[in-house]
Amino acid sequence: MAPAAPLEAAPVILRVFRGSPGGPERFDVFRVAVGPHTTVLDALVRLREEAAPDLAFRYACRVGMCGSCAMVVEGRERWACRTRLAAVAAGGPREPTVTVRPLYHLPLVRDLVVGMEPFVARMRAAGAAFVPAPPVAAAAAVAPIPAGSRERRAIDAAVECIGCGACLSACSMVGWNPAFLGPAALNRAWTLEADRRDAGAAGRRPAVLGEAGVLRCHGQAQCTAVCPMELSPADSIRRLRRGAVARLLAGRA
């Protein structure tokens, strides 16, 4: 087990959202000792071991790979496992304080845990599955796109989404219009649109270019600002739009 944070470290006040659907909601306040590398997740794990055994939060890899610990830390969507408390603690005249709450726009399960069903439903609605171009049996249908090619670079820039939900939470347009497919699903649609081996574009376009699709994005790029994988769903959405306009101008809409 990793050594605990040094006790001489400065304490931080950690405000943690507690609540269940339909039940009372509150912020519990804890004083936690924080070393220079203590992450939000480290602090939550310690709280659950020592002070709040019923505190619910989700995590798996602890090393910034899986995205399951995404939550809103100090007003911004972040990975709890890669966010150092000392770096985000609001200073000033009062004691350094960090407020942690569940992601927005996803249904609360308990405390810091949200259900990912709406995220998955958006992926499905956007046709996020790869549809092999015929003939499926031909090796060419699934052959790798050459590394370094323009097509590969375009896809690589958007393909590493780990489904953490941070972008969906940060998107103010999803807040206004819950039917909006949102950044992650449209980003995924772009990676498939850019892939010549995929044959699902025609089936995908009614949703992607429809009333709840790319038109609902207002280019605020909040999604891009919070993406822990440093993807830019905002750019992907613009590419989908440009593609639609190009097809329209070419009479192929």
Binding site: P21, L108, G219
Partner: protein, 111 residues
């Protein structure tokens, strides 16, 4: 979902909750500023049509038109293919250019 749970609770950022605004970044402020300028212009244009010789209204009209137009140019440039990583610079550029053009037109006005 189990049947014993209460009604689903889905949080969204509230306009009046200061904590909700802490996550706002440049792109959101640019969008909000452009929309605010558009709405403000509706009133300022009406005032200007009623009496075109009020200096304050003239200044407001000029400032808001510049702000709205240049932020619109920023959005168009991003839409036609400028990389999204430039959006903060474009936002700053639009604000600086709006201020510069305002100063130029206001202090060198020809009437």
């Amino acid at each position: 979902m189990d049947g014993t749970r209460g009604a689903p609770t889905t949080f969204r950022r509230g306009w009046t909750d200061a904590g909700s605004w802490r996550g706002a970044r440049a792109g959101l402020w640019a969008w909000l500023l452009q929309r605010t300028a558009a709405i403000a212009l509706l009133g300022v244009v009406a005032l200007h049509l009623r009496n075109p010789f009020v200096r304050t209204v003239q200044a407001l009209l000029l400032g808001l038109v510049l702000l709205h137009a240049l932020l619109g140019v920023r959005a168009i440039l991003l839409d036609v293919g400028l990389p999204g990583r430039l959006h903060r610079g474009l936002f700053a550029g639009a604000l600086v250019l709006a201020a510069a053009l305002f100063a130029l037109v206001w202090w060198w006005r020809w009437y």
